[in-house]
Amino acid sequence: MADVTVVGQGMFLRGSIRGEGDLEIRGRIEGDVEVAGEVTIGDGALIKADVTARRITVRGAVAGNLTGEEGVRLEDGARVVGDVRGASIGIAEGALLRGNVQTGHGAEGQKGRARTGAAAKPAVRAEPRKAPAVAVTAARGNGAPRRAAAAEPVERAGPPPPVVPALKKGARAALRKRSR
């Protein structure tokens, strides 16, 4: 266990983890994880981060993209919102996933930020849609609350911002039609 890094159950990290060796996560992380070895995300773990590693095993909840050079395994109990990429990907019965999946060698090679962002769209869009819709109907004609509701999902670092205007545009058009 000499070089296994453990983020314990009672731990909350806002920031990044990088380096060699393996990583076991049982706590909460918001930020970035980039590890050369294996990453195990235990049940009870709550992660809002992109995870990059040689191998990733998930039993907990992840909001972010998973890139496992060799492979990614989603075990029973895993809840993932984000894209999954890896040479081999396994999804066990009982695992939940919303996002794109890309298997095969080279999948993990195309890890350009822009690409990651584009691929992340569907997964991200699915969630905030409910909330703004409610907010908009409640406060029709008033721009401020709608903006506040739309701004909420932006807390996810990086790609999301372009998603929000696209959503808003559609929502706004639909609204206008309805009010006419």
Binding site: Q9, G10, M11, L13, G15, I17, G19, V35
Partner: protein, 104 residues
């Protein structure tokens, strides 16, 4: 076994908050708050303010440390920063530069 371990070769940057004990053998930059023991082992490099119930330093820390119980600076340990704790021990061979506040 400690509940949180930052192993050698691993670098954590940011803000860490923990209810349990933490062992650092790698690198930490930012801020660490624990309600339990924090152990900075030899070879560890910490550039962070640390607050814990008790802290033992065998590695290198740059930053202010606060402990509700005690701070132990071991031989080979190196601390640059202020210490606020009700008890402080400094072993022979430790290096330390900073102020001490022992609530007297």
């Amino acid at each position: 076994m400690a509940s949180t371990v930052i192993a050698q070769g691993m670098t954590i940057e940011g803000e860490l908050t923990s209810d349990e004990d933490v062992v650092i053998q790698g690198t930490l930059r930012g801020k660490l708050t624990s309600k339990d023991t924090v152990n900075v082992e030899s070879g560890a490099v910490v550039e962070a303010d640390i607050s814990a119930s008790s802290l033992s330093v065998g590695g290198q820390i740059t930053g202010n440390v606060t402990a509700s119980d005690r701070v132990d600076l071991m031989a080979g340990g190196r601390l640059i920063g202020d210490v606020k704790a009700s008890r402080l021990t400094i072993a022979d061979g430790a290096s330390f530069k900073g102020n001490v506040d022992m609530d007297v």
